[in-house]
Subunit: 237 residues, 2 copies
């Protein structure tokens, strides 16, 4: 067992996808004792939680919590409701506008949960895997959102008020392309075979190869000049 | 059935306590079509959720959602963990410092959920019952926190970005004393017999009469010159 006593603690939001696995590797590289947090929010691609558990165990976090919070009660997204996930969209369509896979206020909810977990643990650092590709489409992935949350965190908490912690929200992928993220993760030893990105995987576990998440991922690996190690449905090739 | 089509929608955070029942009455007075949101977060005083359901039905909301989110996983509070609830504290003790009943980042989490619900409903207004008595002790009840959350909400959401909504966080009790809140609620027809404030109620449902919430409530009714209609444990009188 690794001695974690001397290392500062951090909370990493771990979805089980490519981005959050890379962020976890960055937090570990930076010397943090990591508690990973995943959320079972009614996502149709619940396989990502198995991926999160594999990644957490393989990469060596000191704790992994999966919190249940059923966002289906609110509706309004293709990721949680019975709305078809868009397939085979062109690059310019993926990069413009807010997609139906947007889950209302999801990152606000996830960061709020990470803040509650961090304050309970005495951790002052929170890591989230939002990036430039996301923030073209999702409002709660933009740099201004991350800054506003950091400000809120320091007003919201006992630790922020009595000065025992000064919360920092780290988004180390913010300005990276998908290929840049993959190159960073590979340099830190991430096994992307453990990750799951697809919004609409087959029951057998293969990624569909056609949703926005699969398309961005496949193009990222292509641009990085590396083969994606996960399995895709036969019809996707 | 009331015609709700012409009224703007609002989300009211409804705990089932005296403050949130009053806030609900304010939102209804102001002409909103109200969706109430309660959270089953592992609180020991879960009786407040029955109170919330009674209040929601009695006061005429168009929808009431109770969301499950088990904050016990994070620990750290007398309201969710096996830590004794303080009893019979003096006024100056209640008014100073952050109590053990503080739940880490609770209002950040609750407002984030309210924002997700509001965005799904197309509502731009969110009501929360924080007040001056709370913000002497709880950091996430202070005016600066509410303002920071409003700013975040408008960066976090599709509705805030495309201009279809401009979110407002309403905290109409912010500068009221408990007696002032009670006077306001009575003027709006709130039946405080439906509400539940105690942090540590008996299994039979009576309020303990000794926790901070009971003491503040009892003093509030006394200062307002009104009898509190709820039942207290015999030992509390």
């Amino acid at each position: 067992m690794t001695d974690t006593s001397s290392r500062p603690r951090a909370v990493v939001l771990l979805s089980g996808g490519l981005d959050s696995a890379t962020v976890l590797a960055v937090a570990l590289r930076d010397g943090f004792d990591v508690a990973a947090l995943s959320v079972r929010y009614g996502q149709r691609h619940v396989a990502e939680l198995d991926a999160a558990a594999r990644i957490a165990q393989r990469m060596g976090v000191s704790r992994h919590e999966i919190v249940d919070l059923d966002l289906r009660a609110f509706g309004g997204s293709a990721l949680t409701a019975d709305i078809p996930v868009p397939k085979d969209r062109a690059d310019d369509a993926i990069g413009s506008g807010i997609p139906v896979t947007y889950v209302p206020a999801r990152n606000t909810v996830f960061l709020a949960l990470a803040l509650a977990f961090a304050e309970s643990l005495g951790a002052a650092d929170i890591f989230i895997g939002v990036n430039a590709l996301d923030y073209s489409g999702y409002p709660d992935c933009r740099p201004a959102f991350i800054e506003a949350f950091e400000r809120l965190a320091n007003l919201a908490t006992k630790a922020g008020v009595d000065g025992t912690s000064r919360f920092a929200i780290h988004a180390p992928l913010l300005h990276l392309s998908k290929a840049g993220i993959i190159a960073l993760g590979l340099s830190l030893g991430v096994d992307y075979g453990d990750t799951c990105s697809c919004y609409d995987p087959l029951v057998t576990g293969e990624a569909c190869g056609h949703c926005d998440a699969c398309l961005l991922r496949l193009r990222g690996f292509e641009a990085a000049g590396v083969r994606d190690p996960i399995a895709y449905a036969a019809s996707s090739r």
